[in-house]
């Protein structure tokens, strides 16, 4: 057994464009423990238990039956993230309620997950931990940040040396050149 660390180490938030994130089909749970985190694996090999996303909140809805539930759509210029804030996280709900205007620039930190419907279709969504109204500059910085992170992942996938890259390649057979185009297109959307 390896050394058990007492202190809790927070997972870093991964940077993933919506278009890539929504193509995710797999998740893994490295530990058997019930409380162990689940990681969504994306086609360029990101392993995400937490994500940072920034863009335009284009829709926001509040359902009250059976419980209060906020849902929303966040567009990052490559696609839409589905975001949710359930009654299990009152702080997230409060923060959702404080985003008064739609559309508006927001930045969200949240937990990614994928669902398989009965018909076999796979859906992705992000459970909000925090959402705050930000601005265009923050969104533009996020695009650069996410572009860089994605290119870094693509570079590792291209080498295809380690077990992780090999495994992801086998599962997704990703079109890496296509993802490079996605990244460049995302950068091109920035209006300076």
């Amino acid at each position: 057994m390896t050394e058990q660390k007492q202190e809790f180490i927070r997972e870093a938030a991964k940077r993933i464009f919506a278009k890539e994130f929504n193509m995710s089909k797999f998740d893994i749970k490295p530990d058997d423990d019930d409380k162990a985190p689940t990681f969504v694996i994306t086609p360029t090999g990101a392993m995400a238990n937490r994500v940072l996303i920034s863009g335009i909140l284009t829709a926001k809805e509040k359902k009250t039956e059976p419980n209060v539930m906020y849902t929303g759509k966040l567009n990052d210029n490559t696609g839409n993230f589905s975001i949710t804030a359930s009654h299990f996280n009152p702080t997230a709900q409060q923060m959702m309620s404080m985003v008064k205007e739609v559309p508006s620039f927001v930045t969200v930190v949240g937990k990614p997950s994928i669902y398989k419907r009965d018909d076999g279709r796979i859906f992705t969504s992000i459970r909000v931990e925090s959402i705050v109204v930000t601005d265009k500059t923050t969104r533009d910085l996020w695009i650069l940040d996410t572009a860089r992170a994605t290119l870094d992942r693509i570079a590792i996938m291209k080498k295809n040396e380690d077990d992780w890259s090999k495994g992801v390649t086998e599962q997704y057979k990703p079109d890496l050149a296509g993802f490079e185009t996605l990244v460049q297109n995302a950068v091109n959307t920035i209006v300076e």
Binding site: V132, N188, T189, E192
Partner: protein, 428 residues
Amino acid sequence: VKFKKEETVVIDVTDTTNRILDLFKAKSIDLKSAKISKEMSDLVNVYGMNISEAERTITGKYAKENNVIIYTNARSSAIRDINTLKTSNEWVTVEGKCISANKVANTNKIFMKVVIADRTGAIPVTLWSRKAGEPMLPEMKEDKWYRISNVVTNLYNDVLSLSVVKTGEIEEIGEKDIADSEPTLVKDVGVGIFNLKCKVIQLFESKSDKIAQVGLIGDESGIIKFIAWKSANLPAVEVGKAYLFTYVQSQKYNDKYSVTINEFASTTDEITVPSKHMEIIGNLVSIKAGSGLIRRCTVEGCGRSISRQNYCTIHEMQTDFKYDMRIKGVIDDGITAHNVIITLPTVEKMSGILLADAIKIAETNPLGADEVFYRITNLCLGRYFVIKGSAYPDRVFVNDADKLDYKEFKKITDLHQTAKQTSITGDA
């Protein structure tokens, strides 16, 4: 079946035997070498007695037989430099200045715990309590010089100390030269006693009323945690000032060293602590409870954050308090989530809310200090910053923060637009 005789390692008792013979020779008592050697060897090799215990047993036996007090003899043995003491179970005599002296309250087994230093180093000394009728040990006093004779070195938890057992003697002597020894670099600190020339980098809040101050000190080579116990009655150190800390005692906990400071003197020497400075470009992804406008205890040297009802965990209900602002949060660069602590001037810079304004907001708003928390959250959370700070294994103390500049970040990421805005919007 023939049993193979187990091979045993025979412990050599020659040195010990000679030492015993010398001790008695000095008292004009001639013991038979062969006899002592046989008795030593029997105790050690046949009965498996610890060699130092055997030495004491035999010395005691012949001292009694010859009606002499043998431990008084130790004075003749050579005085050792403290830095030559390396191994345990050595019988030694040292001379040194008493650096710290504490009576031990919780046990009647130990009379005092002191630290003595000579020009070569310092070592902790344990004075075990004597039984009635045994020669009493003097109460050692700080800054006085002593000869500590015929005591045994003892290694416990990687710390070498001197144990003043029954045979030991302590005698006050005249002051000797003690040239200031060169300070040790923080990176070279192991377990033991050291001199450090360090700058105070940060003070933490302490939850214990036994601790006067706790924080970080550092030199060119690194940073180390320090503790000043209230019982040491030291003046307070100040952040940003440099001191020569003499005879700090270091301990290892969870693979990290920390030091207990003893005495120190201010120094005007310029100390820069460069190695642990770090810059992080990241997003402030979390602002934790306890951030925003807080109240601090005004009791001298305390400064802990206290509750809205002015309750200090140490000093209980306070009539007075001092306002402060801070952010306890997380800066995430996509690889690592860094815990950060951001203090007043940087919080003012990041949020644009000055302390005076924050106080006004808190005092005129029904939500009080919560309103300041919400405003700081709305202004700073989810934004990109360039953080400059001092890194410690589990947190970064932020000295300065700037909003990340778009042009600057574009240069860093080396990303360029290859075409005017392209439309790639659409659900996947």
